[in-house]
Amino acid sequence: MAQQQKTLSVQAQAAAGAVSLGALSGAGGGRAREAAMEIGLRVGSIATLILIWWALGLFFPPTLIPRPWDTFAEVAEIVSTGNFFAEMGATLRRVAVGFAIAMVLSVPLGILMGTLRSLESFFEPPVILGLTMPGLIWAVLMIMFFGLNETSAYAAVAVTIFPMLAISIWQGTKSIDKDLIDMSKAFHARPWSKVVDVILPQLVSHILAAVRYGLGLAWKVVVVVEMFGFSNGVGYQVVRGFNVFSMKTVLAWTITFLVVMIVIEFGIIGWLERMVTQWRPRVEAWRR
């Protein structure tokens, strides 16, 4: 067999920017173009949804599928007449309070379940049970128990999302790097420093993921609670629209609600996430 000469000639250019340099020095030209592309895709996705909505409207009467622009006009009116802020404020307050209660309870419980086996065994069944309980039933139970007042809304939101938060923090705690705990022992770290400097930072990404899912659940429950007979809030406004069979009103309130959710999700939580994970190099290099 003839011996084959094989050579591999390598001509490489440094393409280091993507991983480290980009993160050090901020956006370069390529970065900006990528970002513009990303925004374009998102806008395109929303535009497609509106297009489908408009197309459906061609086959149904406006009472069933109102025209997109009529609905947007209604949105503008809701926002400009001013009661939007009061109604949305009431709903947001219910979500925020319920969420805060659930958070304050689930972080310590999750950490304890992740560290102590006995507590894990004790709390696992109720937490799993709680997870399978529909938010609607929690809403009914809480209103029957507390009556039609703010407390029942806060409680319903808190109980519905609590198991979900506890589970992710519990699982996150179990995956903590034990070597780092040893390291902190070797350097005599105080218990408080161990929690704040070593344990909590490892939980941050789990907590943020939990916050995302938790908020998603919280919006759903709060609207249900409000529908039961509250006199304000987005849920109440949707029911009012339903009672006069105005599809336009129902959709308009839904849209304003969605927009606020998206602002919170991408704006506030996304910003928070970037703040607390800036120590981590971006992994965009392998994503296409």
């Binding site: 070597d179 902190s184 070797a186 350097f187 005599h188 400097d197 941050v204 120590w279």
Partner: protein, 240 residues
């Protein structure tokens, strides 16, 4: 299970002592026992002062691990502060010490950087600086070069040796690499396996900064070490 059996040795004062032994012979357990991460069933660890009297039963120890074990969410200098805080070093000294020891490992300009933006060798240097910054009576190092590539390891060995010699730092280095032991150790304690006991203690005839990997004197000492280790392994095979 008995892991350590009557292991007893003195480290070289103000010098580097290497614990040399095969993998799994209990070297790391010994180091963990010394640092208090694992409890000794019997025995004690003492730092003895010049006058031959024990200064402390719980000596101030710095630790350099096999992998860097940095808090990746803290900047380089904050990783050092974590150790300074734990060891209760007064805050007025922090800045000066961070400057001194990060400078020593050559990472002063990276003090505001996050560890994951540094190379593996640089991260290990941060780990070394963290062990030194608390100015320990004894610096413990658990195979600190074994996860680095050959070039990086070689350079870091050189630098670590020079730093320890410069500081007259008493240090205890665990390794399974004969050449590393011959290069780094002023004294070499050869451990045998399961349960670990001290087989032989040798002092390095060459002073720290005169060890060259291709020097005859150095090669001679390395051979001498290797023979001891090989003899030990033969004996163990026969004992089986």
């Amino acid at each position: 299970m008995l892991v350590l059996d009557h292991v007893s040795f003195d480290t070289k004062e103000n010098g580097v002592t290497c614990l040399l032994g095969p993998s799994g012979c209990g070297k790391s357990t010994l180091l963990n026992a010394i640092s208090g991460l694992e409890r000794l069933e019997q025995g004690r660890v003492e730092v003895v002062s010049d006058h031959g009297r024990a200064t402390t039963l719980a000596p101030q120890l710095g630790y350099v691990f096999q992998d860097p074990r940095l808090l990746n969410w803290k900047r380089v200098e904050d990783n050092l502060i974590f150790a300074l805080k734990g060891m209760e070093v007064p805050q007025v000294e922090w800045k000066e010490r961070i400057h001194k020891y990060l400078g020593m490992v050559g990472l002063l300009e990276f003090r505001k950087q996050y560890p994951l933006y540094l190379s593996g060798g640089m991260r290990q240097r941060v780990g070394l600086a963290r062990g030194l910054v608390i100015e320990p009576e004894v610096l413990l190092m658990d195979e600190p070069f074994s996860k680095l590539d050959q070039f990086t390891a070689r350079k870091l060995r050189e630098d670590t040796l020079a730093i320890c010699a410069g500081l007259r730092q008493t240090a205890l280095l665990v390794t399974h690499d004969v050449e590393e032991a011959a290069y780094m150790g002023d004294r070499i304690v050869i451990l045998s396996a399961r349960p670990a006991h001290v087989a032989e203690i040798l002092d390095n005839p060459l002073p720290p900064l005169e060890r060259e990997l291709d020097d005859f004197g150095f090669i001679g000492f390395k051979k001498r070490l290797l023979q001891s280790v090989l003899k030990l392994m033969e004996e163990e095979v026969r004992a089986c």
